[in-house]
């Protein structure tokens, strides 16, 4: 991506032209939520200005139109993930909603003693739903280890599998460490024992080309707001063959074929899993976010972000008393670090005073912090609209923080 293209892209994100604490904004908190291009924002406005309507149940023009636009997004998701009609798109309220749904619905057919395998680098969204299932159904939750670089130990993962293992649920890209996990190998290991795999793609979705068909992923979950779309919408993209075994978890409008007080018949997949009025505008805007990513090209994004992450890693490694947490050679978009003697919360506050937005804390991955025996990290996470200048500002900011604590 050359300078001109980058400058044009940055114009798509009006927030990049704003100031924070008197400095032009450096937004390095993309793993928390990405910024939104004006096309997505305009599409939301257009829907509410001229197309507002509820969907599915209306015969009038606006309802028909909104239904068509809404339903089209299922196909956009399919293309984006390189799926086919073997999978189905289910709209949820986010990654968390999607994983909880799998834990509740797919989990409802597990028996006491059945096992779910996750990893040590999971986000709380891919831990707590399984703990809740453990408490409810007395399943066993097993945790595949990682090494001190933040690389998943595949042999350990494989060794955890038994005849009781019912699901392997792993993140594609760690939001705390930046590690890219070898999804192809994970799926092969699990499938060789006929175990389905859920991939938490909350982070990967905006940074890595995902081919569910080639990878043969069974369930994949992600959030619109982490891929330049609106808050409040997510997706579970899943094999129909598995969905067919899964009971609906929420009841209400749209998810039924017929309701009588004595007996209710559910609607077909995917509708039976989408009770109530969905986030119509949000889903339609997610479609535009997908179009927007496609217009730039995920390949270009991957290439550019790879270089930028290398630059950042180089730049930060030159700073004394700074340690990068997560040093796998296979990383994307995230750089987590700690400064000797300075708590990340203070780092974040002081960087903010210079207009630099980073995230500090446990990043909803407390077990990662526990593993590295640190309370928290400072995390800079990039997207394709970030620049080398952003990284330079970050590096200078860190030196400034250190100067205060000297």
């Amino acid at each position: 991506m050359d300078k001109n293209i980058l400058a044009k892209i940055r114009e798509d994100f009006p927030i990049l032209g704003t100031e924070v604490n008197g400095y032009s904004l450096v937004y390095l908190d993309n793993a928390a939520t990405t910024l939104k291009p004006k096309y997505v924002i305009d599409r939301l406005s257009k829907h509410y200005l001229y197309e507002t309507s509820n969907i599915h149940r209306g015969v009038h023009f606006l309802s028909q139109q909104a239904t068509t636009y809404f339903e089209e997004v299922r196909d956009k998701v399919k293309s984006y993930l390189h799926g086919d009609s073997t999978w189905e798109t289910i709209f949820t309220k986010g990654t968390t909603g999607a994983i909880n749904f799998v834990a509740q619905s797919f989990g409802s057919i597990f028996n006491s003693g059945d096992e779910v395998i996750i990893s040590q680098m999971e986000h709380h969204s891919n831990i707590v739903p399984w703990q809740m299932l453990r408490d409810r159904k007395n399943i066993v939750l097993k945790v595949a280890q990682m090494d001190e670089r933040g690389i998943l130990d595949l042999e350990h993962l494989e060794s955890l599998i038994t005849e009781k293992t019912k699901l392997v649920s792993i993140t594609y890209l760690s939001n705390a460490l930046g590690t890219i996990n070898p999804v192809d190998k994970i799926v092969k290991i699990a499938h060789s024992k006929n175990i389905p795999v859920l991939i938490d793609a909350a982070q990967a979705i905006a940074h890595i080309t995902i081919d569910v068909k080639k990878l043969d992923i069974d369930f994949i979950a992600f959030s619109a707001h982490k891929m330049f779309g609106p808050t409040g919408v997510g997706v579970l993209y899943a094999k129909k063959q598995l969905l067919e075994k899964m009971p609906p978890i929420e009841g209400g409008g749209d998810m039924i074929a017929s309701v009588r007080f004595d007996k209710t018949i559910y609607n077909t997949i995917p509708y039976c899993f989408e009770a109530g009025t969905p986030d119509i505008a949000g889903v339609i805007a997610l479609g535009v976010a997908i179009d927007y990513i496609n217009s730039i090209g995920l390949k270009n994004i991957e290439e550019y972000e790879h270089k930028l992450l290398q630059y950042a890693t180089q730049k930060l490694s030159e700073i004394k008393n700074l340690r990068v947490v997560g040093t796998s050679p296979n990383k994307s978009s995230v750089i987590s670090f700690v400064l000797d003697g300075i708590h990340p919360h203070d780092v974040g506050s002081l960087l903010d005073s210079k207009g630099i937005a980073v995230r500090t804390g446990h990043h909803c991955a407390q077990p990662v912090m526990e593993f590295f025996k640190i309370p928290a990290t400072t995390r800079a996470s990039i997207s394709f609209y970030n620049t080398k200048e952003d990284i330079d500002r970050l590096a200078d900011g860190i030196l400034y923080v250190q100067s205060i604590f000297e």
Binding site: H345, D346, S349, T360, P375, I404
Partner: protein, 142 residues
Amino acid sequence: MNQNELYQQVILSHNKSPKNFGKPATFTHWAEGFNPLCGDHYFIYLTIEDDVIKNVFFEGEGCAISKASASLMTESLKNKTISDVESIIKKFHDYMTLSQGNLKDLGKISVLSGVKDYPARIKCATISWHTMKQAIETPVSE
């Protein structure tokens, strides 16, 4: 006030060398406090005798604001009666979260006044105080 002015010398030095830090051999009351938002995590250990806080220690991890606040708190609450301590806690809490009153008559603690203007940091300043309150109400069980 600029954000960096939060980090006054007193705060930086209490952060570096906190007072009453560590776990004492014996204590009569204790509590654990989290700030789930940023991972701050503190323990308060008290020795209460005849309604007086004879000894107070804290332990844990957190940012400079939270650590300095805990350190300053332990200094100022030692040897005070429970009822005095409770009114100081209330005063601190009301100032920080409701913007009521001020910290002027709380001695050194007043260096934390500026935190109130940074909503993100208020919880850092108050976590040890909340935990203190809980500790007073939580005698060691065996």
